[in-house]
Structures are given as structure tokens and as C-alpha cells.
């Protein structure tokens, strides 16, 4: 940084390559001294800037003060903004201005000040589409991290709740907010998350998913993930009370939660609002659906190809007739149906809603009904894939994993039969058991088994019993790697 204001402004203009949104407002105070306010077009609230910065400075009388003395006078007596942060370097000045701050520069002073006048446009708080609930809050996170912080604070009015800001991405300089409860999350876990994020060498972070591989213990892109995602502030608050750490990424409504356990994929906010017996039924339904979504087509093809005697005679007769009338081998038939289903799902997801309905009609009537009537695919085969597809919607958090595993089981079941399915199941299970995040085993409390923590896994106990013991994810067996 240079002592000359002109020089500093020129340097900043050079650094921004004359970008159209880089704005410099030069002011001459009553005593003739020059100051400048650096902002980024569209990121600051002009009204706040005028009321709390520009007007007071133009109206003040600094007499003969200049340089550092003038800087102190402006900070202490003139500026009426609520948030001011000292800035030392031009790089930081640019970062603050691009985050919506107004940066004050005074001629003959080596100090700068970032003034909080952020006012960029953003989407208002609305209900998240991916985590709908029947009984519960309708508020979801938005893209602006500051608003997300407010949504959390409104639900957790405790001094234990800590927000820590940091930036990642050497180009995007994306703001992250680490959120945790100081008395619940262990210091070593928070330090570890901080360390991993600082070590993240990615250039651009445009979504929370970019950071997931950097937060995993293994550092690899594995099938199952130990980092959870939520769009609901109430869900996040629940997780924080269990000793987890949240990471809000500016620009995305999905907040990361770490560590994330396998059993959490089957829990929802509604479980805690509904009666325990109903919540238990829904939970068990979800577990059954998960197994059906992953295994059903694979087991179907394995039994038809290798163990047909396992079917009741009448059913076997129908299946045999249907297979005899279709031209493709069974494994290929199942793979084709699964492929068509995935294509239809993807197109329905990306298209506008109106067209999405049209795709559904085309898929159900044209491809489904006509293909069976034309003898291209068999009805039992189509049904097996359809059941698996419907079951996979019950646990949306595991959809990517279910899709990959279902395909694998179809191939293995078709080639190696029920033995292959069983062997692959064991491989997947060992793989899941080997996974941990921040030292917490992904499969706990199922294994390592913890009876104490099982009260909110397959069944949820009533609140009176549940509240007697405070769950903390760091207390799970095998979860002590980062505790000491």
C-alpha cells in the first residue's frame, strides 16, 4: 500500500483490470483533504452508504487534520455505520469491497477501513424443495450466508453458538461460515475442520459440494459420504446440539454438516413432531425401502437366471412366459429399463415443471405400456425396476448411492447369481464399516454397537425418554480420534 491516495486507486484499478463494477467515489472534505470510498456496483446498499458514510463526511469539519490523524477523526467522530473493520492491504480492501463493504481510503494514510453497508439482492427465505415437512418450519436456507446465520441464531439464542468466517478458493474467494456449539463440538474436531478447509487448494468454490472431498477423512470421492447436507435451519440446529459442525457456503442454500452418519439418512424433522410409534413405522419403512431400492432388481434377475425354483410355481410360469416373449437377455432387459428410467428421471428433473409432467406421461404410457404390449420388455421385469425406483424416492439423501449400487447388483446378480449378490453386499458393508469422518465411524451406532444411541435409530423414543440423555456424536464408540 502506498501513502498516496491516487497511487492506491490506480493500483486497485490495475488489479481489477478496469472492471465495470469497480466503483471509486472520491470526496474532498471541507479542509481540502482527499478521501475515497471503494465499492462494488450492486453489492452495497446505496442508501446506507449515503446516510452513514458519504453525508457525514461531507458535512464534517476536520479543520487541519490530515493523514493518520484525519483517519482516526473520521472513524471516531464522523462515520455512523455499525460495522467497521480495519484493513491493511489492498488485496483485503478488494476482497471486502467485493463482499459488499465500502472501503474508506484517506490520502497520506497507510490504513483503510471496511464499512458494513452490504446490500446485494438475494432470494428471500422460502420453503426448501428438497426437504419438505408436514409439521415444522417452512423456512429454508438462502444463498446469502448472513441471512442463514440469522436463521440459525433465531433458533439458538445461546452464547455457545459460534460463527467463524473464513474464505476458500484462490479465485472465487468464497466466504464460508463455520458454525458450532462451543460446549458440544470438541475443540480438536473444530480445529481439524478448520485445518482441512485451510488446506483446500481449490480455485473456485461455487457450491457446497466442491468442499466435500476435502472434508472426508479419506480425502477420496467414495460412494458413501461422511459429510451431510441440509437446507433446513431447524435440521442444522438439531445436528449442532449433537456436537456436529456446520459449514455455510456463501452463494448456496445447502449447508454442510460434519460428521454425518449412515442412520441420519433415514431421519427427518417430521419424525420428531409425529408420535413415536408412527415415527418408528416410517423409519422401518425407510430401511426396508432402502434395501428394496438397492437389491430388488439384482435379486430378481439372480433368482430368475440361477434359482428359478425359489419362486412359487404359478409366478414362475408367468415370469417364464414373459421372458420367452421378449427378445433381450434378462440382464440386458433390466439394464435397459433402468437406463430408460434414469433418463426420464433426469429429464423430468431438469425440464420446466409443465414439460416434466409431459415426460412422465410419455414415460408411463408410451414407453411403459407400449413396450410391454409390443413384447420388447416383460411386465415382471419392468415392475421389479419400478418398485426399486419408487423405493429409492423414500430416502432421497441416498439416491446417488442407491443408483450406483442398484446397477452394480443388477450386473453381479445377472452374472453370478444370488452368491454374487451376497458377496457384493458383504463388500459394500465392509466398505461402509471402514468409513469414518472426524474419527466418527460412519456406521455407528449400529457398529460399533451402542445401545444408548440406538434410541433414535430404528425407533424414536418419546421425548420424555429421549431428553434424559443428550446425544453427542463424539461420544459414539470409535469416535474419539480427534477428541484428545
Amino acid at each position: 500500500m502506498n501513502i498516496s491516495l491516487k497511487e492506491n486507486i490506480n493500483t486497485l484499478k490495475t488489479k481489477t483490470s478496469g472492471s465495470a463494477d469497480f466503483t471509486v467515489r472520491e470526496l474532498r472534505l471541507r479542509n481540502g483533504e482527499s478521501v475515497a470510498i471503494i465499492t462494488t456496483e450492486g453489492m452495497s446498499d446505496k442508501e446506507s452508504l449515503a446516510i452513514s458514510v458519504v453525508n457525514p463526511m461531507l458535512g464534517c469539519d476536520p479543520k487541519k487534520k490530515r493523514g493518520e490523524e484525519l483517519f482516526d477523526y473520521l472513524v471516531e467522530n464522523v462515520l455512523s455505520a455499525g460495522e467497521v473493520i480495519p484493513v491493511d492491504t489492498l488485496v483485503d480492501a478488494l476482497r471486502f469491497s467485493m463482499s459488499g463493504f465500502a472501503v474508506l481510503m484517506v490520502d497520506q494514510s497507510l490504513r483503510m477501513l471496511a464499512i458494513g453497508v452490504q446490500g446485494y439482492s438475494h432470494r428471500s427465505v422460502s420453503e426448501p424443495e428438497s426437504e419438505l415437512v408436514q409439521r415444522g418450519s417452512r423456512e429454508g436456507f438462502t444463498e446469502a450466508s448472513r441471512i442463514n446465520m440469522t436463521l440459525i441464531r433465531r433458533r439458538m439464542k445461546t452464547p455457545d453458538l459460534v460463527f467463524e468466517t473464513m474464505t476458500v478458493g484462490s479465485v472465487s474467494k468464497t466466504e464460508l461460515v463455520l458454525v458450532y456449539l462451543e460446549k458440544k463440538a470438541t475443540k480438536s474436531s473444530v480445529d481439524e475442520v478448520r485445518k482441512r478447509l485451510k488446506a483446500c487448494d481449490i480455485k473456485t468454490v461455487l457450491g457446497s459440494g466442491y468442499l466435500v472431498p476435502y472434508l472426508e477423512d479419506s480425502g477420496k470421492n467414495e460412494v458413501f459420504t461422511g459429510v451431510g447436507i441440509t437446507e433446513r435451519p431447524d435440521t442444522l440446529c438439531g445436528k449442532l446440539t449433537e456436537g456436529r459442525i456446520g459449514i455455510i457456503v456463501d452463494g448456496t442454500p445447502s449447508v454442510l454438516v460434519i460428521p454425518h452418519l449412515f442412520v441420519e439418512n433415514f431421519q427427518s424433522v417430521d419424525d420428531y413432531s409425529n408420535r413415536p410409534y408412527f415415527a418408528a413405522i416410517i423409519r422401518i419403512l425407510k430401511y426396508i425401502s432402502y434395501f428394496a431400492a438397492v437389491l430388488f432388481p439384482g435379486i430378481y434377475i439372480a433368482l430368475v437366471n440361477f434359482h428359478p425354483d425359489y419362486f412359487p410355481k404359478e409366478l414362475l410360469k408367468n415370469i417364464r412366459e414373459s421372458i420367452d416373449h421378449t427378445p433381450l437377455p434378462l440382464i440386458l432387459e433390466v439394464l435397459v429399463i433402468d437406463f430408460i428410467y434414469e433418463v426420464m428421471r433426469e429429464s423430468g428433473l431438469r425440464l420446466p415443471k409443465v414439460l416434466g409432467h409431459a415426460v412422465s406421461i410419455v414415460g408411463a404410457l408410451v414407453i411403459g405400456d407400449c413396450a410391454i404390449n409390443a413384447g420388447i420388455i416383460g411386465a415382471p421385469t419392468l415392475m421389479s425396476v419400478a418398485i426399486a425406483a419408487i423405493c429409492s424416492y423414500v430416502i432421497p439423501d441416498l439416491y446417488p448411492q442407491v443408483t450406483v449400487l442398484r446397477l452394480s447388483f443388477i450386473v453381479v446378480g445377472g452374472m453370478l447369481g444370488i452368491f454374487g449378490v451376497a458377496s457384493l453386499s458383504a463388500v459394500v458393508l465392509v466398505f461402509m464399516c471402514s468409513k469414518s469422518t472426524l474419527g466418527v465411524v460412519y456406521m455407528s451406532p449400529l457398529t460399533p454397537f451402542s445401545q444408548r444411541h440406538m434410541r433414535d435409530v430404528f425407533v424414536r423414543l418419546g421425548w420424555k425418554k429421549l431428553s434424559k440423555y443428550e446425544m453427542n456424536v463424539q461420544n459414539l464408540k470409535g469416535g474419539s480420534a480427534y477428541e484428545k
Binding site: V412, M415, F419, G420, L429, F431, S434
Partner: protein, 263 residues
């Protein structure tokens, strides 16, 4: 070597699966030699654990590792035979590859995830056993017959816990709760008892019935036992011991196969 730590209960479940896989390849009639064959290894098990708990000499460790290597070879060969000859199963070579791949995968992952997985697999195995027992009570007759290395597998299967325990001693965390192990011991006794009574309908139902489901579960247990042995040998023996173990084990396995062919 990974610094894996497993609990005694996880170890027990691992051994349960390994024993179950070994029982699949046993064929015999209720007789005094069979009973002696069942009881003697249990006594030897206890002696091995009592003498060498945590501090076995290198030679003993190498011998135990060799024994387990031989066991792995026998299980792999028996499994393929079982699929090919007894079940007439086409892609048995593919399954053998899957089993070996699984064993390698688990060896790389370490004993800890393997032990954790054993708990969940055991739950499914118990469920399958209950299901098959119910089937047998309703007189659902089995389709296939087991065949294998006759009584040769029995000492192998029953000596396994002691050998694995000694090799994994440093990894196993002792627990204060004894009831699960007592129950576990009773369960093993029941399994052995049923094995010794192959003419009993219920026993036939448990070990020889429900072709698809039970044999699938047993195949997992088989692959699992390979993995446990592989991990206990590879992960817990030094290079020199390992080479000696592989050599001794190969000789041992060859001798057993030779004797079997002769008989």
C-alpha cells in the same frame, strides 16, 4: 501395519462367521471319533490361548499363520467344489474370484472394518438361520447335499479362534461383559451338536436346507473367513514369518488335499 482396535465381542462375531463357513464343508455321521474331533480342538484352543496370549514366540506365530493360510486354501477350494459339484453352479470361477477379491479388499481395509461388518452380517445370518429353521419345521425338504473335506475341516474350523486370537491379541480390547460370550459359546455348542446329528430333521433344515438363501449367506461367511484369516496373517506377522507361513501352509494344504484324494 494399521493400528486397528477391535472389541472382544466383534472378534467373537468374526469367529462365528468363520466357523459357520467351515461347517459348510463338513460331512460326517454321529460317531465317537467325530465327537472327539469336535471336543479335542476346543480344548487345544483353550491351551493355545492360555499359553501364548499376547506373547507367542516367532516360531509359534509362523506356525499359526501357516495353519491359517492352509485353512484359507482349503476354504477356497471347498467353496469352488461346493458351487460346481454340489450345486451345479455355472459361474463358480467368477465367484471364486469375487471371494479372493473380497479377501484382498478386506485385508487392505484392515481388521477393524471387517470386525465391525461381522456384527451386521451375523445379524443377517441369525435371521437366515431362524428362517431356515422355520422352513424345516414345516418340512420343506432340502434340495442339495453338502460335500467336502470330511472331518479334515473340523479341526481347522475349531482351531481357528485360538490361532486368530493369538495373532490379533494386541488389537483386541477386552470387555467386562461376559454374558454375550457365554451365549456365543452356547450357540457354538448347539451348532456342533446339530452337526453331529445330521439325520435330525431340524438340523438338516438348518445346515442343508433353503438352497438359495442359506447358501448365499454361507458364501458370504466363507469369503469373510478368508478375509479374517488373510488379515490376521498379513496384518500381524513380519515379512520373514509370513514367508515361512506361506511355505508351511502350502505344504500343509497340499498334504490335506493329497490325503483327501487318497481316501
Amino acid at each position: 501395519m494399521k493400528n486397528d482396535r477391535i472389541t472382544l465381542s466383534q472378534f467373537s462375531f468374526s469367529m462365528f462367521l468363520s466357523l459357520l463357513s467351515a461347517l459348510m464343508f463338513i460331512k460326517g455321521k454321529p460317531s465317537v471319533p467325530n465327537l472327539a474331533a469336535a471336543v479335542a480342538p476346543l480344548a487345544i484352543d483353550l491351551l493355545i490361548v492360555a499359553f501364548y496370549k499376547g506373547g507367542a514366540p516367532i516360531a509359534v506365530k509362523a506356525a499359526l499363520a501357516a495353519y491359517m493360510f492352509a485353512y484359507c486354501v482349503l476354504v477356497a477350494v471347498s467353496f469352488c467344489r461346493f458351487l460346481y459339484k454340489d450345486l451345479g453352479y455355472g459361474p463358480y470361477w467368477g465367484l471364486a474370484l469375487v471371494s479372493v477379491g473380497f479377501a484382498y479388499f478386506c485385508s487392505v481395509k484392515g481388521i477393524e472394518p471387517l470386525a465391525r461388518a461381522s456384527v451386521i452380517i451375523s445379524v443377517f445370518v441369525f435371521a437366515a438361520l431362524i428362517y431356515v429353521t422355520v422352513l424345516s419345521l414345516f418340512k420343506v425338504e432340502p434340495e442339495f447335499e453338502f460335500d467336502g473335506f470330511s472331518g479334515f475341516s473340523l479341526p481347522f474350523s475349531l482351531l481357528l479362534p485360538a490361532a486368530v486370537y493369538v495373532l490379533l491379541y494386541d488389537n483386541i480390547i477386552p470387555e467386562k461383559k461376559y454374558i454375550p460370550y457365554i451365549l456365543f459359546g452356547i450357540l457354538l455348542a448347539v451348532i456342533v451338536f446339530y452337526y453331529l446329528l445330521p439325520d435330525d430333521k431340524a438340523a438338516v433344515g438348518i445346515f442343508k436346507g433353503a438352497d438359495g438363501l442359506l447358501s448365499a449367506v454361507l458364501s458370504v461367511a466363507s469369503a469373510y473367513s478368508l478375509s479374517t484369516c488373510a488379515q490376521a496373517v498379513v496384518g500381524n506377522t513380519k515379512k520373514r514369518e509370513l514367508l515361512a507361513a506361506v511355505f508351511l501352509g502350502a505344504v500343509f494344504a497340499a498334504a490335506v488335499v493329497f490325503l483327501y484324494c487318497k481316501i
